[in-house]
């Protein structure tokens, strides 16, 4: 048995029974990374020494093995989450040498639960992208087909989980960056409600949309990671101060009698026929399990791309103003004055997609254009949010595809930014509304590429979408398939 192929909850049982030690487990992952990651490039950096030291602390009994299901478990972190003393680049040349002076809240929580970090996962620069091709350090490849993208922006995290280069990972989702790579790589990805998990120590892209979440091999692992991560944090004033339910208990309840809505706008023109076939079959499966399937409409879905690609770049242009070559990050030498130093450092440090979004964001916020673009998009955001609230009066949760197509070829869309943006059409609305969403494997395309089922729920109803996903997974075996590498 290869321990790297096991889920977090399976590894937890092995560790508790002392059938494997944390050092041995960590070493197995490090060896596998050594062996495979030249081809995949899921990691930007490893922290082998720290990981082995933490593993030894676990094995010596310095960490309470029963305290948490993640104690002694090797995980990967998307490189947009600050780790004290460990380089955090956000996939950007501008932060190539940035060493955070503190840990993000999610890192603190996982550390105190006894988790072990193997390294920092690759990503689109500042989480801006849908393919991980925008990484300043080279793309990640999809473990199912090395010529294809793993999705993005959390492509490194999803590829690492799919290829058994970690037991589980954290990603971040601003417009689909957890759900879409999870779908493309055949793993589970959960974007919680906006504010359910603290963003303290998460490098900001679009602050009203950013949310951290787990990427895992099965639904139970996603639930147990959410259990560790969720909750209010005084250091993030947008984090939600509400009790955290017991996700692992409620997920075992059957879904008989639940009303599941199928939004007709999510079966879009130009959708890959295999995606539609596989997702429709998944919907039938949920009906077999006793759920009542109802047709619903989210009439403003088609405006999600335009609204998102105004709002997110607007917020990004403001957030990324901090990279000025003064406090941290790249500074070009020999600039003649401060202004030249700003301009040259930023121009050299940022990649093309980040520049494009800063430009778009600056433009839509600039005098004379604010009302026509930013205000208009924020109003449409209200309507998109309202669509979901209306739909949830007719059903408990929604079932839909995650993306209109399976993983595409590296380079296929990278020359046309608008085409890349349009591929996010089915994940953006939930982000704009702040509702939780999950991708669970539901089949494969004719070419053998994984396809995910997207499950969306009302605000703070992670328990419900986890339960639906868990019950679906218990009665199917798509999540057991692993790429051959």
């Amino acid at each position: 048995m290869d321990p790297t192929s096991l889920t977090i909850h399976e590894l937890h049982d092995l560790l508790i029974r002392k059938e494997i030690g944390a050092r041995e487990l960590t070493q197995r992952f490090l060896e596998r990374i050594e062996q495979l990651d030249d081809r995949l490039h899921a990691y930007l950096a490893l922290q082998a020494e720290i990981a082995l030291k933490e593993a030894d602390r676990y094995d010596l009994g310095r960490k309470d093995p029963g305290a948490s299901p993640v104690a002694g478990i090797p995980l990967a972190l998307k490189d947009v989450i600050c780790t004290r003393g460990v380089r955090t680049t956000c996939g950007s040349r501008i932060l190539e040498n940035f060493i955070p002076p503190y840990d993000g809240t999610v890192v603190e929580k996982l550390k105190s639960a006894g988790a072990i970090f193997l390294g920092k996962a690759n990503m689109d620069e500042f989480a801006m992208g849908s393919s991980t091709e925008n990484s300043g350090f080279g793309p990640t490849r999809n473990p199912w087909d090395l010529d294809r993208v793993p999705g993005g922006s959390s492509g490194g995290s999803a590829a690492a989980v799919a290829a058994n280069l970690c037991a589980g990972a954290l990603g971040t989702d601003t417009g689909g960056s957890i759900r879409q790579p999870a779908s493309f790589c055949g793993v589970v990805g959960l974007k919680p409600t906006y504010g359910r998990i603290s963003r303290f120590g998460l490098v900001a892209f679009a602050s009203s949309l950013d949310q951290i979440g787990p990427i895992t091999k099965d639904v139970e692992d996603a639930a147990l990671l959410l259990q560790v991560l969720a909750g209010h944090d005084p250091r993030d004033s947008t984090s939600i101060n509400m009790p955290v339910p017991d996700y692992l208990a409620t997920m075992r309840e059957p879904i008989k009698g639940l009303r599941l809505g199928i939004p007709k706008e999510y079966f879009v023109e130009g959708m890959h026929p295999d995606v539609e076939t596989v997702v429709r079959a998944a919907i039938r499966k949920c009906a077999e399990l006793g759920a009542e399937i109802v047709d619903v409409s989210l009439p403003h879905t088609e405006y999600g791309v335009a609204a998102y690609y105004i709002i997110a770049p607007a917020e990004a242009s403001s957030n990324l103003a901090r990279y000025d070559g003064v406090k941290y990050g790249l500074r070009v030498p020999d600039a003649r004055d401060l202004l030249a130093m700003y301009r040259r450092s930023r121009s050299e440090g940022f990649g093309p997609e980040v520049k494009r979004r800063i430009m778009l964001g600056t433009y839509v916020l600039s005098a004379g254009y604010y009302d026509a673009y930013y205000r208009k998009a924020s109003q449409v955001r209200t309507l998109i949010r309202q669509d979901f609230l209306n739909a949830f009066e007719q059903c408990d949760a929604l079932l839909a595809p995650v993306a209109p197509i399976p993983a595409f070829k590296i380079g296929e869309k990278s020359d046309d930014p608008l085409q890349m943006y349009l591929s996010d059409v089915l994940t953006l609305p939930a982000s704009l509304a702040g509702i939780p969403g999950l991708s669970v494997p539901c089949g494969f395309s004719g070419e053998g590429l994984p396809i995910g089922l997207q499950i969306l729920g009302p605000h703070l109803r992670e328990d419900l979408i986890i339960r639906i996903a868990y019950q679906f997974e218990q009665h199917t075996d798509h999540h057991l398939a692993r790429p051959v590498l």
Partner: protein, 96 residues
């Protein structure tokens, strides 16, 4: 169709964003921004005359905390990532 944004405007926006674009990057950026901004016109099909804007999906207003002094980053840690310091302050090139 008339372009939404000209090269001169792109240059101006780049200045506002503290970016500088090489000649051919400027041409490409103008083309791509026009392409994207044309697509944004789809929003004009939606009547939003009586719709309030949403800036945050979760209504969370007036989040207060007790007015207590807490620890903060030490100066050394705060300066550690800076390209140039004199141990007490950030050093920048001359302003003018």
């Amino acid at each position: 169709m008339q372009s939404k944004i000209t090269r001169e405007e792109v240059r101006h926006v780049a200045h506002l964003a503290r970016l500088e674009l090489a000649e051919d990057d400027e041409v490409r950026m103008t083309e791509q921004m026009n392409n994207i901004l044309d697509y944004m016109d789809t929003l004009n099909q939606v009547d939003t005359s009586s719709v309030p804007p949403t800036t945050h999906a979760i209504q969370n207003c007036n989040v207060f905390r007790p007015d207590r002094v807490l620890g903060s980053l030490h100066r050394e840690a705060a300066l550690a990532n800076a390209p140039e310091t004199d141990q007490t302050s950030f050093i920048v090139p001359k302003v003018f």
